[in-house]
Symmetry: C2
Subunit: 251 residues, 2 copies
DNA sequence: CGGCGGGTTGATTGCCGTCAAGGCATGTGG
DNA sequence: CCACATGCCTTGACGGCAATCAACCCGCCG
C-alpha cells in the first residue's frame, strides 16, 4: 500500500513534470472519468495547481470561502464538522481520486475542516471555471453529478451504520469499506495501512478509542485479522463482509 | 399547518388547472428558485406530471430504475434504506419544495424507498430532460448543484447527531430542524403536526420508540413543549436550540 | 532520564435498549 | 349498547453494551 509512483519530497518535480489528468493514475476514478482526449485537455487547462498538504495540515477550514473543489492525487484526508458545543464528528476519510469540498457549493463556504492524514497532494479545481466547462461538456457534467450523488449515498450508508449497527458491526463495515476502496485503486484488499488514528476511527464510527482498541483485539483473537500498530491484514474478508451486512450473528 | 391550497380529492383538478412552477407556492424554495419567467416556462415544459401518492404509498422503491427526480408539492415523505440483514434506517423526511431521488443519479437505480407520510403530491422531473436544460440554463444548473450540496450538508449534520449526541440532544435537534423548515415555508415555527409516527422518529434518530415517548414526556414536564398525539407546540424554542447546539447542560 | 502521544487493557458506571403491561382511540360485529 | 381486537403510544422494571475512569505499555524525542 505504499505509493509506488512519484515521490513526495522535492516540490520541484510537481512543476517540472506538468501533471495532467491524462497521465494521472486516478483518471478513471476521478472527475475526468469517461472523457475523450480533447475534453481531458480542456479540463487540464482549468486545473489551478497541484497543491501539497503536509501531514496534519489543513486543506481548508470551516467557513473558508468556497473557491475550489479538490481532487486527492496522493495521500489521505479526513473531513469533520464541529458543532457549537465544540464536539466534532468526522464525516469522511478521502483517498486518491476522491473529491473534496462539494458540501460548500450550497453556501459558498466550507462546512467542515479538511486535514491531511499524511503528506498529501491535491488538484485544485476552481469551481467557477468548472461550471463554465459544464455547458459544453455534458459527459463531464454527468460524471460530476454522479460523484455528488455517490457522496449522498455514501453518507446515507454511514447514517445506517450510526443509527442501527452495534459496535462490532460498525467496525467490520468500516474495514470492508476501506478494503473495497483500496481494491478499486489497484491495491490489496486484505493488506493495508490505517492512515488514521484509533481516535479518528472511533470518532467516525460513533465509538470511543477504547472500543476500537478492544474490537481490534477481539477480531485478532477470532482470527479475522492481524494488526500491528497501523498495519492491518484482513484474514477473513468473507466473515467481515457478512458481519457488515448484518447477516452474521454477532459472536 | 393544514394545507390551505388545492384540495386533494378529485384528480381531475390536477389536469384541469395546469399546475406550473410559476404559480407554485414553493417556487422560491424548489428547483426553479431564482429563474426568470422564460426559464421557468422552459422548466415547466419538461415537468412530466403532478403525481399523487396516497398515505403509506410508495413514490419509488429501492432498485427501481432512475428516471425522475421528484419535487414535493404537497405533503410529506420519508426515505429509508434497508441493509442485507433487513434492518432499516430512515435517512430523511421531506416536505414541500424538497427534492427526492438525487441519490439515484450515481447508479441509475434508487438506493432507498420513498413513502408518503400522508396523502401527497409530487412533480415528476424527468432527469434526462432536465440535463438537456442545464446546457442553456446556468442558473438552473447552479441551483441544482446547491440543492445536491445542501443534501450533503444535511446528511453530515445527521452524522454529527447520530455519532456524537445523546438522546435528549438528538430529539431537541430534530424538533428545532422541523421548526426551521416550517418557518421557511411560512408556517408557525412553534406549532405544528408531527407527520411521522414515534417509531419513525426513533428510527431516524437512532433511538427506540420508548425513548422518544419518554423524551416527549420529559420535555413536557420541563415545560419545553406541549404535545397531544401528533400535535406539538414548542414552548421554549430558545432552550431547545441551545440543547440542540450542545451549549446547554443536559438537565 | 523524564515527558509525551498513541495505544491497550481492566473495572465500573450509566444511558438507553429490551421486555412487559397497560392506556386510549378507533373500528367492527353482535 | 357492549365486547373485543388492533394500532399507536406511554410508563415502569431490568439488563446489556459501550462510555468512562484509571493504570499501564511502548516508542520517540529533547
Amino acid at each position: 500500500m505504499t505509493n509506488p509512483s512519484p515521490d513526495l519530497s522535492p516540490s520541484i518535480i510537481v512543476s517540472a513534470v506538468r501533471a495532467s489528468c491524462a497521465t494521472c493514475s486516478m483518471h478513471q476514478l476521478c472527475l475526468p472519468m469517461g472523457l475523450g482526449e480533447n475534453d481531458i485537455d480542456k479540463l487540464d487547462q482549468i486545473i489551478g495547481r497541484r497543491r501539497k498538504v503536509p501531514r496534519d495540515g489543513y486543506l481548508y477550514r470551516m467557513d473558508d470561502p468556497f473557491t475550489n473543489l479538490y481532487a486527492v492525487r496522493i495521500g489521505h484526508f479526513k473531513t469533520y464538522q464541529v458543532n457549537a458545543g465544540g464536539e466534532q464528528q468526522i464525516t469522511g476519510f478521502q483517498m486518491a481520486g476522491e473529491l473534496l469540498g462539494m458540501d460548500a457549493i450550497s453556501t459558498d463556504r466550507h462546512h467542515c475542516d479538511a486535514i491531511a492524514l499524511e503528506d498529501s497532494e491535491v488538484c485544485e479545481i476552481p469551481f467557477p471555471r468548472l461550471e463554465e466547462l459544464f455547458g459544453s461538456m455534458p459527459i463531464l457534467l454527468r460524471h460530476f453529478h454522479r460523484m455528488m450523488s455517490q457522496e449522498i449515498t455514501r453518507e446515507q450508508s454511514v447514517m445506517l451504520l450510526l443509527g442501527n449497527m452495534r459496535a462490532e458491526q460498525r467496525f467490520a463495515a468500516f474495514l470492508v469499506n476501506l478494503a473495497s476502496r483500496y481494491v478499486a485503486r489497484g491495491y490489496s484488499s486484505t493488506s493495508f495501512q490505517l492512515r488514521m488514528s484509533r481516535e479518528d476511527i472511533g470518532n467516525y464510527l460513533g465509538l470511543t478509542i477504547e472500543s476500537i482498541s478492544r474490537l481490534l483485539s477481539k477480531f485478532k483473537k477470532q482470527g479475522l485479522l492481524k494488526v500491528s500498530n497501523r498495519e492491518i491484514e484482513l484474514l477473513d474478508l468473507v466473515t467481515l463482509k457478512a458481519m457488515a451486512a448484518g447477516t452474521e450473528t454477532c459472536s
